[in-house]
């Protein structure tokens, strides 16, 4: 049995043992920890601590659960020169992430038109399988351009506006992307999926700002109670999945070449500075940029769909991006470790960057409040908007949680849904649903998820981010 000891209300430590290079640290309440102990995710926190060049702690956020190699909710920073990069610390869906867009509309004013809005969104946003993407006749040459340019590529083609870039991590473009690092298969999978939602836990939601916890920050972000907002949750689609897949065999071979040992094959890694490591990082940057294009395009499609459904102008709708965050990514960042500023690569897998006030990586307008962080909940309850804190910078490499986490397996959830009218149940809870995949819908019902409020209480209580607002879903589109 793995030793884990509580060191404060919300922090637990796995002492260094065996081949661990650093201790593990998990952010959780006593109640959440009871659940976390049930699967192998704590062992995975310990496994991650074996990564060459890892510094500080192998970290896990309160929504931690069992993943591949890394736990979901895992954060690990490695030295930028001597460390190793592992695709297992990023995941199949590179830059899976969420964005929040606000409108000028009042939710109460459009309540009657909500079914019309939901239909229009459902029509406008393809799920991406057996359907065409949102950019017809995308050429391979354009695809290679968009993976380098990121969100700006979509803005130049009329999806959203230039000002949105300030409100995206890395301004919607991760440096170092080289389309030549992608395989033919990855490019082929990406060609028809720009502007598609995907299925699983991905969604597009119409929300109402339901509660404000920090009015000063909410004011800077232009949010007030009753406002209509949109949340988009999706990632890099087949291009990202294939990029992860392609890297696994390469990393397997690199492990032998560089004589690296890790306790789990899925932590296969290569030195950051090796040809294998550099090539993966170039391909990963392409996938990350693809994901930003994807979310930017879908926000643009949603904007048009709502305007048409309500027969209003862009000015009346007033849609603008509040913020866009990534969940599955590795980024070059500078952090203080043992009193010394160090260049690191920070892996976040099912975790969100949460930089504190004043950080130079966030746009000037947001610097006084810290980086906004959106934590989506299940489709029936609520989502939270937070901001990063100084404490996150000193404790978690500027990282926080990313979502609710499941409490029921997909199989259990399907079973629990049998014989029930799930659409009706959601409607009774005030949420209109439109979906394509029947299986996915049952698996994603609110009862299959933990209450995201429990997760958010931990990161708020531990001080690694601060609550700003709560959003309630009114309509949800699933792939």
């Amino acid at each position: 049995m793995l030793e884990i000891r509580q060191i404060s209300d919300y922090v637990w430590e796995i002492p260094k043992h065996g081949g661990m290079r650093v201790p593990g640290r998990v952010y959780a309440s006593t109640e959440l920890m009871q659940n976390i102990r049930k699967d192998a995710s704590l062992q995975q926190v310990a496994n991650v601590a074996h990564l060459p060049g890892i510094v500080g702690y192998s970290l896990a956020m309160p929504d931690i659960h069992w993943g591949y190699g890394f736990p979901i909710g895992g954060v690990a920073a490695v030295d930028a020169e001597e460390g190793a990069i592992t695709p297992g610390g990023i995941g199949f869906d590179v830059n899976c992430g969420v964005r929040l867009a606000a409108t000028k509309l009042r939710a109460d004013d459009v309540k009657r038109d909500l079914p019309k809005i939901a239909d229009a969104l459902f029509q406008a946003i393809p799920c991406g399988v057996g359907a065409k993407g949102s950019i017809p006749r995308l050429t391979r040459a354009e695809e290679k351009k968009l993976v380098v340019e990121g969100a700006k590529w979509a803005i130049d083609r009329g999806f959203g506006r230039e000002a949105d870039l300030d409100n995206i991590e890395e301004y919607g473009r991760l440096a170092g992307a080289d389309a030549e690092a992608l395989t033919e298969e990855a490019l082929e999978r990406g060609l028809t999926q720009v502007g598609t939602l995907g299925s699983g836990n991905h969604f597009l939601e119409v929300d109402r700002v339901d509660e404000i916890y920090d009015s000063r920050v909410a004011e800077v972000l232009g949010l007030e109670i009753g406002q209509l907002a949109i949340i988009v949750h999706s990632g890099s689609r087949g291009l990202g999945h294939q990029t992860c897949e392609d890297s696994l065999k390469v990393m397997d071979r690199a492990m032998e070449k560089y004589a690296i040992r890790v306790p789990d094959r899925q932590l296969a890694c290569a030195p950051v500075s090796s040809p294998e490591g550099r090539r993966y990082l170039s391909a990963m940057a392409c996938a990350a940029n693809y994901a930003w294009v994807n979310r930017q395009v879908m926000m643009g499609l949603a904007e048009n769909a709502i305007m048409q459904a309500l027969a209003i102008s862009p000015r009346d709708l007033g849609m603008r991006l509040v913020y866009d965050v990534c969940h599955n990514i590795a980024k070059p960042e500078t952090h203080e470790v043992d009193g010394e500023k160090r260049k690191l690569w920070v892996h976040r897998k099912g975790a969100t960057r949460a930089f504190g006030p004043g950080h130079p990586a966030i746009a000037a307008r947001l610097r006084p409040i810290g980086q906004p962080v959106l934590i989506p909940g299940d489709m029936g309850r609520y989502s939270f908007l937070l901001v990063g804190t100084e404490k996150a910078m000193t404790e978690t490499f500027g990282s926080t949680c990313h979502g609710a986490g499941r409490v029921m397996s997909r199989a259990q959830a399907k079973k629990a849904g049998r014989g029930r009218n799930l659409e009706r149940e959601l409607a009774d809870a005030g949420v209109i649903a439109r979906y394509r995949g029947r299986g996915t819908f049952a698996e994603e019902m609110p009862y299959a998820y933990k209450d995201v409020a429990d997760v958010v209480e931990v990161v708020h209580g531990a001080g690694i981010s601060r609550k700003v607002a709560k959003l309630k879903p009114m309509a949800v589109i699933k792939g």
């Binding site: 199949f92 999978r189 299925s199 999945h241 899925q266 397996s409 995949g437 792939g479």
Partner: protein, 143 residues
């Protein structure tokens, strides 16, 4: 030949993803069942017709990697071209190579019931083993 009454596979409990166990009398049947199992999570079998037959030959090293790589190719054909399998025939198989034919058709949202997308066939707890003449595979699909 295995009776079709017997379920193709067993779904195991896995919190975030899909875990399955497939059992068969031969590697050829094991692969066939695993392939059909994969498709059963993507599209309802009802209404899928054998309108087109495709060859799928894959080479790899060892049973587990071969199954992984072959399933990954099946998945890609679905995700990229929307090709759904009705039936799978394995013509030749060794631990390094499989030659197979997939018959099916292109997904049509009007006629078929789409269930959901799978992102990847993972290596997580991937097992292919033979014991006393019975073949068993354990697979996890990332959704």
């Amino acid at each position: 030949m295995v009776s079709e009454e017997e379920p193709l596979f067993r779904e195991l409990d896995h919190t975030a993803d899909i875990a399955i166990e497939v059992v068969a009398d031969s590697p050829a049947e094991l692969f066939r069942r695993a392939g059909l199992a994969l498709h059963s999570f993507l599209v309802e079998a009802d209404g899928i017709e054998s309108r087109e037959e495709r060859r799928l030959d894959v080479e790899s090293t060892g049973w587990a990697d071969l199954l992984h790589d072959w399933l990954a190719r099946l998945l890609r054909d679905f995700l990229v071209q929307g090709f759904v399998a009705r039936e799978i025939a394995v013509d030749e198989i060794s631990d390094r190579r499989i030659a197979s034919r997939i018959s099916g058709e292109t997904l049509d949202h009007d006629r078929h019931q789409f269930i959901g997308e799978i992102k990847a066939v993972t290596y997580h707890e991937l097992v292919v083993e033979e014991r006393d003449g019975r073949w068993r595979a354990h697979l996890i699909f990332d959704v």
